[in-house]
Assembly symmetry: C2
Homo-oligomer: 222 residues x 2
């Protein structure tokens, strides 16, 4: 039966991890603190140690929660489309939690969905004709590529309001415009493109396209 204080929901790994995810999304990973988490959950800091061995274990739990949300699509026969599908699935799962993205690579091999993703990637790369060594490296590169994109997401990457983003954008452009034009002509010419991304979806598409085109370029000729 539930505890007396009906206000407090029962504690569990998932409840704690979900709350930690909310804090991380709203205020960044540094804001995720055993003590803060305990206060918000109406519990003593030590209570959390029943569910997580250490804070590191808790952070691993966050990464697992993100990986668990991955929905792998069905495989077709085309290796390029399959790679795209897996990367897109990862992007969809990770974009809501850009702060946690960096933790995912450490969990990829210790998580059911992570193993499924890796198996998928290895099979696909083997289909494309790669030997085990490059296939393994390219599979990991796909993961890192997605993590990198999500981490530097031009929109959601750093929980800010629209006004804050606007102010920062103006600051950045003013800064780039102030650079010596004889030394940094291209930088100045690209100032707008580097500071503003009209369509975030295109941002991710380009990253995935880049990876797939790279794999295609390196693939052994059939």
């Amino acid at each position: 039966m539930p505890p007396k204080t009906a206000s407090r929901p029962a504690l569990s790994r998932d409840v704690v991890a979900d709350r930690a995810l909310e804090i991380a999304d709203a205020e960044g990973l540094e804001a995720v603190t055993i003590r803060r988490l305990a206060t918000e959950l109406g519990v003593t800091p030590m209570a959390l140690y029943w569910h997580f061995r250490t804070k590191e274990d808790l952070l691993a739990g966050l990464a697992d929660r993100v990986l668990d949300a991955v929905e792998l699509p069905a495989r077709g026969g085309d290796w390029a489309a399959d790679l795209r599908g897996a990367m897109h699935a990862l992007v969809v799962a990770m974009r809501p939690h850009p702060q946690v993205a960096n933790l995912v690579p450490t969990r990829i091999m210790h998580n059911q969905k992570g193993l499924d993703l890796t198996e998928w990637a290895l099979q696909t790369l083997a289909d494309a004709g790669f030997a085990p060594q490059p296939a393994g490296q390219l599979a990991m590169q796909a993961l890192r590529s997605v993590v990198g994109m999500v981490t530097s997401d031009p929109v959601d990457g750093s929980g800010m309001t629209a006004e804050e983003r606007d102010a920062e954008l103006r600051t950045k452009r003013a800064y780039l415009a102030s650079l010596p034009p004889d030394r940094y002509p291209a930088l100045i010419r690209h100032a707008d493109a580097m500071t503003y991304c009209p369509d975030p979806d295109e941002f991710f598409d380009l990253g995935i396209d880049l990876y797939v085109a790279g794999v295609r370029g390196l693939a052994p000729k059939a």
Copy 2:
């Protein structure tokens, strides 16, 4: 003139940053602490605040120090070779300090060498025919690609002794071998390739090749 206690070298941003780099390389970024740093430098924790506004500022200093070490080669006319040269220069500068690699992207635009690198990349990608928007994204992707490789360097990535690495390698392989073979056949087949890299240089070469091949695949036809 030097202070009385000749044992203590004069404090400065560079002296502090170099010491912090040593600690980070040997024991990881978490070991870099204002108080620890002060003790090692024979000084009060508060002394460091004369040279760095905050700890964040100190960490930025570490990233700057890594970027300062980049030696850009001369440019040829071939855009692919130029891209390769810039990425290789970044790899050479960052590999000795894999723990700091993650901090570099935040400094790339606030550092002389970072700006030089970006200018180089943008000019090269413009030469290859890219419009400003994709050129800007691809330039950042090159940086992230290098950071990702250095961060997961199979050899130097996580300051361990040869014995520790060997033990971990055996553990990992035993773990992969214990997976259900009907569900993870490729993973098991790739176990050796995923856990051991015979030549770290090839690891980085493949990553750079992947990026360049990707750019080539996306480049507008001449």
